[in-house]
Symmetry: C3
């Protein structure tokens, strides 16, 4: 370093010297050994921009409730059209970044831009269907919770609705071949609600998660119509198949199938490619790794009351 600069820097009172050059060099050495540079520099999609896009798409789907301004009957279609226009354009750019990034890994034949345009177009067409599905979900939440006072309270307050709103859009992107954006959107919802739904999960209409914190729904889960889950329910994998080198086999159906009209109470854990038959009730804290026929009611072992060592806790 230039000695003159060094001298001046030493005179800065509030900003001591930290030898940043050495740290930069050490970090560079680590990056060179690391996976990151194997694939070269690139720009990944931005979570912050995706948060904004999701807010915009939600507002376009529910303009009178989630829109950002007071909308008249006359003005609502203008608002919806403009909001879609802006946010689909933003989404296009984020998709392009995903495809540009993964194309480095040679998975893609089309140009990232063309592919992104095709995906946005297909995605946009699915939006009315997503809105119609979400209406069934909101109605299910209202019908299923004695504390719900109005449809609108459900829409603007309930974390379960936030989670399924994100999921329904993320799932469309997942099926259109944009798994990275899909996962990022799922994690935006996970972060704000504590509900972790993999974008690969197939979920039927009238789906309701109450409270929701701690819910986990795995990638290959299939959920029928009119299913209700409570907080801390896990629909997970039981075992992970490995190949001859001991490495995990990626993908593969490994999560539960939950048929129509099932209720799963708080804390229940259902693992593996099992089927929960139509109309079943799975009790709180139940641990279940086998299929159950339609109409089953499953509960956990009863609690014993006994001596309790005072102070046992966390």
């Amino acid at each position: 370093m230039n000695p003159e600069i060094k001298k001046r820097r030493a005179r800065e009172i509030d900003r001591p010297t930290w030898n940043i050059e050495a740290i930069v060099a050490e970090l560079r050495d680590i990056r060179i050994k690391d996976h990151e540079t194997r694939e070269g520099p690139a720009k990944l999609p931005s979570r912050k921009i995706l948060v904004r896009i999701m807010e915009g798409l939600a507002a376009a789907l529910f303009p009178n409730r989630l829109g950002t301004c007071r909308i008249t009957c006359e003005g609502v279609d203008f608002y919806v059209g403009h909001t879609l226009d802006v946010n689909l354009t933003e989404l296009l750019e984020q998709l392009r970044l995903e495809f540009e990034f993964t194309s480095g890994a040679a998975l893609i034949i089309d140009s990232p831009s063309d592919l992104a345009a095709a995906v946005v177009s297909a995605f946009a067409k699915e939006l009315p269907k997503a809105r119609a599905l979400l209406d069934t979900d909101i109605r299910a939440a209202y019908d299923g919770d004695p504390a719900a006072r109005s449809i609108d309270e459900v829409l603007i307050c309930y974390p379960g609705v936030t989670a399924i709103l994100h999921h329904r859009l993320a799932h469309v992107l997942y099926k259109l071949g944009a798994p990275l954006l899909a996962r990022m959107i799922a994690e935006i919802a996970h972060s704000s609600t504590g509900i972790d739904i993999h974008p690969g999960a197939e979920i039927g209409e009238s789906f309701f998660i109450d409270h929701g914190t701690g819910v986990v729904i795995g990638e290959t889960t299939i959920i029928g119509k009119n299913v209700r889950l409570y907080q801390a329910v896990t629909l997970g994998a039981k075992r992970f198949p490995t190949d001859e080198h001991g490495a995990l086999v990626k993908g593969g159906a490994r999560h539960p199938i939950v048929e129509d009209d099932v209720v799963v109470y708080a804390g229940a854990t259902i693992l593996g490619r099992v089927t929960i038959g139509r109309g079943s009730s799975i009790g709180g804290n139940v641990w279940l790794t086998r299929s159950v026929p339609p109409g089953s009611t499953i509960s956990q072992a009863q609690v014993r009351s006994e001596d309790f060592h005072d102070g046992a806790g966390i």
Copy 2:
């Protein structure tokens, strides 16, 4: 669409055509069938503005700790008064939106503006009491956690304190007849802490939730003084009464009563209108659906050690 515009649009390279007009029309058709338009356009309270109001009110209650600037002894009352003034005015507008919205549902006789003014006035009068209660909660957190190094660490770091701060203010609004804002404030805290306290719950002084993620406290819960909960505790409803048409009966006492000096350890689930007697300890992961007398200690069945199928998990 004007053919000239169509041509120009086709020349936009980075912005392909998505036929937004058709999507807007489809979305309109869905809205017309839907509940949303039944009640006509309106503007709902804004979660983002409520987040800001809550930050402001917290700063007014704890100016030296949660205030946004360095405050002198001389200046503190000016800061508090100004911060109250600004944030109560903002709250007034949000309340007006709630009442305007629900007045469409004909539940309200007074004008939304008058009602909002009366509620803000009553709310403001309750703030000193809320601060005094919160001081007992913060002290309980400090006394109850061996990892707590100072009262101030507790106040600015602990999610349990964030949750009860939001709850104490939300509960005042709930009792004053503003259940929508109250619920929105509760969900702001739920989102940032994983602690879900319905604003209807009655909670006595010196209340502490440690760690907190996954805690659920239902609408009609009553909690005495000096109660401590750990993460993932549920104080919930056991069954939901339905009317002759099978629809849920809204409201109605259905959650536990927890008397003074009770501790509930992590993961315990207490359901129904049961009473947990004064001074009881409820052990981790216990599932409890009956009342227990004062001084009870309840633990779960002991775990068996046995063969374990490798790889069983999520």
Copy 3:
């Protein structure tokens, strides 16, 4: 109040009078009785600024993935150096606030500024080591989750990675004597991920938490290499020793030791200063308060299928 102002205020239509002066006075009286004023006015570190600093440090550690702009091979070191410079300077100020604040409690001999400078300098030196450790964690996540499609998906999406990234930096600050900033950083991650790792916990390389919501790891926990946890796992304290006055003894080893190559499945609770021997598997929902030898596999009691009272739930 000046009567003229009073009159003018009464004419404000949208802003009724709330008698703020009386509320300010009541709040002042409460503060005077309270702990807060015992220590006088001060400015505490800012959570919002810490969020920004953590984003900056993460970008400096992973410039090509978490950086905010498209970075060329030539430009990357400039970006890293500048980002470090800016964020370490911001950190310096936050550290100064912590030390100034705690120096009021007479725990510190050096001047807050000198101490802050020394801590930032030592902290900066640890950054390359933190990056190298994080590379092992990211690799462990990729290897351990069949749903993970790429290293980069793991880095930018997985809440477990966000949590360990915050922890590795918070832990450095904790060991350097800045427990308040360390705890604030831990709570930033807790809020966004639902994963609560006390900054005091010692965690070896290749650590992976999947899903993560509800995980709690206590202050004196020690975790070896290549350990995997799932959601809602608690590594907590069993009992809290009290002194002769019944007050909690602060500090003291009270959380588990988890040796290398251990997997703990979802919902398991391990309490007290017990040792989980190398290579053990702890099954889902297990409640464990004793040590287990290396290679143990522990599962919970099997669930009974039985009559289930319909509607039992939350």
